[in-house]
């Protein structure tokens, strides 16, 4: 991390009445980083984004952008731009005027505005769309216009609020790759909010996991995925199996919470396995390349993901499960 982070939050809280949307959040986002804020709805990730953009003022704490104190600075004085979840395109302007809005405010001459708008539209692969109205575009196209509008000024930090939330799966996958390559080309710090863990894992350099207004864990995707800091993170990022201390003690000899990735669980015939690990398949879903089993063991339920077609349980559904002790990730209690 560089000595001067692009965005740094120190002990930032934002309260709405009695609700603590953000509770003493500390974050440092490095320059040029693709940073994801991941969490369920109501976890404070969007509030955090809005505090960085300047739409919300922190109740307490300090926000710095490239070392400069941004607390109390209105959004229009921050070199930070936002792509909104609902795109927030101005319905009374055409695409080119939307994209060049910030240039119009800075009184850039008309011809120059048109040139730069077209250039930005080319960057998001919408050349020649300038004369259309936002209402004439599809969701994916509106998203690109919102993106072009936000990057036309080359902001120091680009904020994206659930940018892909409203797109269908295919489009979402395309846009993920495009956002990634756009970020590499521009070298801008991207901060994006998402509730989709796979999106965060695939796109981000680092992820901050939010829950109930707090940052629970910050780390690279692999780190967050493999070594979740708490049962909440394990469950939210990749729907890990959460094993309670009693169960872990019985199978691994250590009385601690542990997480276990479903793809690290093997499902076999119930031979002479540890009786704690014999159970019954309660549900089976075919996921294409893999099959997911829900297995009810004594007292707990586990999910296992195995290559499709690699195993078929007997009619009575009785199976044994197995995993390597090294697949267990021990962690502190629930949070």
């Amino acid at each position: 991390m560089s000595e001067r982070p692009a965005v740094s939050l120190s002990r930032v809280s934002r309260h709405f009445g009695l609700t603590r949307a953000m509770d003493e959040v500390d974050l440092e986002i490095a320059e040029g980083e693709f940073f994801a804020m991941l969490g369920p709805s109501g976890s404070g990730k969007t509030t955090c984004l809005r505090v960085i953009a300047g739409f919300e003022q922190p109740t307490s704490g300090e926000v710095r952008i490239f070392g400069e104190n941004a607390t109390g600075v209105p959004p229009y004085r921050r070199n930070v731009n936002t792509v909104f979840q609902d795109y927030a395109l101005f319905p009374h302007m055409n695409v080119a005027d939307n994209v060049a809005y910030s240039l119009m405010l800075r009184k850039v001459p008309k011809a120059e505005r048109a040139r730069q708008a077209e250039e930005a539209l080319e960057m998001v692969r919408l050349p020649g769309y300038g004369a259309r109205r936002p209402a004439e575009l599809s969701g994916g196209q509106r998203q690109r216009v919102a993106l072009a509008r936000a990057i036309i000024n080359r902001p120091k930090v680009l904020l994206l609020d659930e940018p892909l939330g409203a797109l269908d799966l295919k489009l979402r996958e395309n846009m993920q790759e495009e956002l990634k390559s756009l970020q590499r080309r521009l070298g801008i710090t991207f901060v994006f909010v998402t509730h989709d863990q796979s999106e965060a894992l695939s796109m981000a350099d680092r992820i901050a996991v939010f829950n109930a207004g707090k940052v629970i864990q910050v780390g690279a995707p692999e780190e967050v995925y493999r070594r979740p800091a708490s049962p909440f993170v394990a469950d939210f990022v990749g729907s890990s199996n959460i094993l309670p201390p009693d169960f872990v003690e019985a199978v691994a000899g250590e009385k601690r919470w542990a997480s276990l990735r479903p793809e690290q669980v093997r499902v076999t015939e119930p031979g002479d396995a540890n009786p704690r690990l014999v159970g019954r398949v309660t549900a089976q879903s075919y996921l294409g390349a893999t099959t997911r089993f829900a297995v009810a063991l004594d007292g707990i339920a586990l999910h296992a993901i195995v290559p499709a077609g690699s195993f078929q349980p007997a009619d009575d559904g009785r199976v044994a499960i197995a995993f390597d002790r090294s697949a267990l990730h021990f962690m502190d209690g629930p949070a």
Binding site: P75, Y76, P91, H92, L105, A150
Partner: protein
């Protein structure tokens, strides 16, 4: 629990249910039935009378006999352009314009607060506060204002107590709009018009602002717009259809009103009074009709200009 065993329920027995089924199969008929009462009213009663009125305006009055000559002529319209009649039109249009502009300026902040900040009980309080004046009789309000504005009224008294009597005197000394007291000046007429029509401006403006998502205002600010620039480039254009709708009310209601200028003001005629006098005491139906055509033409021109200026782009 009873379980329906048949896949398709048997055809209905009652007439009402059969009617419902029949209508379900003919959506066009439903639309026609929904429109019929309004169309009957609007097309026959309203547009019909309007056409008759228009026809009347092309007749003329025989000067000596005082009888209406049913020959088509433009002479009645020429009469409108005579200085005395044209003064009435000018006075009314200026008043209507002033009232519309003032109610837009006074109404906008109220509509804005109601649309963007008021929630729950506060919103209900807003609606009640705006509509409450509409629940009481128009005549009562106008006469109440006459008392408020009278030389012996509470307004003069308040200005006097505050040592601001000279402000009031200065206003009343203004040439053209002043007068002996507020209740006998154009300023008084203006104030009462403003008060009476203000709700008709606030409600459509508020409805238009209600439809502007907060994210648009955030986006504008995010892209570097100061609050004033956001107002000019985003909020105002998006509220324009509402403001224009409101001004149609304030403008046309002022153009047609004949009570307020009669009770409060300088005593000089407005279009409404001219129509009233011409068709009543003077018996000059053609001239009354021609006067009535004036607001219709003005509103048509006004809407065309508003459209040209892009006021409806955000609709």
């Amino acid at each position: 629990m009873s379980v329906a065993t048949e896949i398709i329920a048997p055809p209905p027995q009652s007439a009402a249910a059969r009617l419902a089924d029949g209508l379900w199969r003919r959506p066009g008929l439903v639309v026609a039935l929904l429109l019929a009462p309004a169309l009957l009213w609007l097309a026959v009663v309203y547009l019909g009378s309007l056409a008759t009125l228009l026809r009347q305006s092309f007749f003329s009055l025989e000067e000596f006999s005082g009888l209406v000559v049913e020959d088509y002529t433009l002479s009645t319209y020429a009469e409108l352009l005579q200085p005395s009649n044209f003064e009435i039109i000018k006075r009314t249009v200026l008043m209507a314009a002033a009232v519309s502009v003032a109610s837009a300026i006074v109404g906008f902040p109220i509509a804005y607060v109601a649309a963007r900040y008021a929630r729950g009980a506060w919103k209900a309080a807003f609606y009640i506060a705006v509509m409450l004046p509409l629940w009481s009789s128009y005549l009562v309000k106008v006469y109440a204002w006459k008392l408020i504005l009278a030389r012996e009224g509470i307004l003069t008294w308040t200005f006097g107590k505050l040592g601001l009597g000279f402000v009031l005197d200065g206003l009343l000394a203004l040439p053209g709009v002043g007068g002996g007291s507020l209740s006998t000046s154009y300023i008084g007429t203006f104030l009462v018009f403003l008060y009476i029509w203000l709700p008709y401006m606030i409600l459509p403006t508020q409805a238009a602002l209600e439809r502007v998502p907060g994210s648009l205002i955030n986006a504008s600010s995010d892209l570097g717009a100061t609050p004033w620039a956001t107002f000019r480039h985003v909020i105002l254009p998006l509220a324009a259809p509402g403001i224009v709708a409101g001004s149609i009310f304030t403008f046309s209601l002022t153009l047609g009103d004949y009570i307020i200028p009669q009770v409060i003001g300088s005593g000089r005629y407005f279009i409404g009074q001219a129509v009233y006098v011409q068709q009543g005491t003077a018996g000059n139906i053609p001239l009354a009709a021609a006067f009535t055509v004036v607001p219709i033409v003005i509103m048509g021109v006004y809407l065309a200009v508003a459209r040209k200026l892009g006021a409806f782009d955000a609709l």
